[in-house]
């Protein structure tokens, strides 16, 4: 199908009247950013959006506005979104691209039941992954985040996510150099002047590491900082003695 043929179908696509395979073909094409088809689609949507104006007007209940506004609480977004959402979006794209490839590999007018089932399953996966994306976005609300960097490790960055609802924190880092011989990295949680060891770790050959732990009792509202130092291996330090590697405050 070329763009001229697609634009012939654009009104039916906007109205949702196409059959599933044509609907998918157009959806993926529009997702690819074709400006001409996007313009035709916007025009079709605008025409269709006028149709309800021809209906006899119904009046919603008088208190519906008040009920809606009472639920319109401030929406808070944080840096979690910027870190985790790309991965969730990538998952959606992976399914969409698979669907596109399958569609292109199949004959144009396939009537095979197995092929149709494959497409239907991919469509379902795409819908489910998009739903997961939305759920991920919702679940991120309330999370706290810290980004750790430091002069001693100019190529390294660490991320700490704190989930107060589950009382858990999760740390991962990338780009860190391996600790010097006889040294191990230690993560510290610092609050109200108290430095609490949160775990030790070594980095992989690729410079990555992860740690997971429980959030200790903390004074409400007190600022929290996280830091990584290098400490003598085989010891369990109760306060930092080594060099600061990366550090960051919880937002």
């Amino acid at each position: 199908m070329d763009c001229s043929e697609r634009r012939d179908l654009i009104f039916q696509y906007a109205a949702g009247a196409l059959d599933a395979d044509e609907q998918t073909e157009l959806r993926l094409h529009l997702a690819g950013g074709c400006p001409q088809c996007a313009g035709a689609y916007a025009e079709a949507e605008a025409v269709l959006a006028m149709l309800p104006l021809a209906l006899a007007g119904e009046q919603p209940p008088a208190d519906l506005k008040r009920r809606i506004l009472s639920q319109a609480r401030p929406v808070r977004t944080n840096r979690w979104d910027r870190i985790v959402m790309p991965a969730a979006i990538a998952a959606v794209l992976a399914v969409a691209v698979t669907l596109l490839v399958v569609r292109q590999l199949l004959p144009a007018n396939t009537s095979s039941t197995a092929d149709q089932e494959t497409i239907a399953n991919l469509e379902k996966q795409l819908t489910a992954t998009v739903t997961q994306l939305e759920e991920t976005r919702e679940s991120l609300r309330g999370m706290k985040f810290a980004q750790l960097t430091g002069d001693a490790q100019p190529g390294a960055v660490g991320h700490v996510f704190l989930d107060p609802s589950m009382n858990k924190w999760y740390f991962f880092t990338c780009g860190m150099k391996p600790a010097a011989d006889g040294k191990t990295y230690t993560l510290w949680l610092i609050c109200d002047g108290e430095k609490m060891p949160a775990g030790t770790f070594s980095v992989s050959q690729g410079g990555t590491a992860t740690l997971l732990g429980s959030i200790p009792p903390l004074p409400p509202g007190a600022p929290v900082t996280l830091a990584v130092t290098d400490e003598p291996s085989g010891q369990a330090p109760q306060s930092p003695t080594g060099q600061m590697q990366i550090k960051g405050a919880v937002e």
Binding site: A15, A17, A42, G57, P60, I68
Partner: protein, 184 residues
């Protein structure tokens, strides 16, 4: 009297967390979304839930609106129609056997925005005039696609017409409607 903010400005303010802007958008389009909901869902209580879902989605996911893709009214109606058809197709809706307009009759009016009433009233006149110029069978096919969420195949079956004929009805119907609206 101070100038009323346009819909684009209101959407921008909603994105910034301005609940008053959400109230103004509701004043302008709450009735339209409710009317569309009653038409698709044929049930006033379902339509009421739809309106609530749509406006709260606008509030919570305001960043999704892209002004380059169309006017806020287009976005609202497209979103409302999509959510209404999802609701109509849901298993719980089907199980309740909602097949005709029913539920609480409520004739009370919201405090609708007077500027919006004038603009929407003029637009409604244009759309009705454009639809009146369509061949009735084209109009029926377009309405079955838009309001009932039916595909070409389903419409062909209901109208007992060949698939190709139904495709022509819908396509030509919508193109003529567009042309009529352009000329109005």
């Amino acid at each position: 009297m101070p100038a009323q903010p346009d819909d684009f400005e209101l959407m921008l303010r909603i994105e910034r967390g301005d609940a008053d802007a959400l109230g103004t958008i509701y004043d302008r389009y709450g009735g339209l979304v409710y009317t569309l909901g009653v038409r698709i869902l044929r049930d006033r209580s379902e339509a009421e839930e739809l309106v609530s879902d749509v406006f709260l989605e606008i509030w919570r996911r305001a960043k999704r609106y892209d002004p380059a893709r169309g006017a806020p009214m287009t976005y609202l109606v497209t979103l409302a129609r999509s959510r209404a058809i999802d609701r109509q197709r849901s298993a719980s809706f089907q199980a309740r056997g909602k097949t005709s307009a029913s539920g609480n009759q409520n004739t009370a009016s919201t405090a609708a925005d007077p500027t919006a009433i004038a603009i929407l009233g003029e637009n409604a006149r244009q759309v009705r005039a454009a639809l009146a110029q369509l061949d009735p069978v084209y109009r029926q096919a377009v309405e079955m696609a838009f309001f009932d969420g039916l595909t070409h195949n389903q419409i062909a079956e209901k109208l007992a017409k060949p698939l190709g004929t139904v495709k022509t009805y819908i396509r030509q119907g919508l193109i003529r409607l567009r042309d009529c609206l352009r000329n109005e």
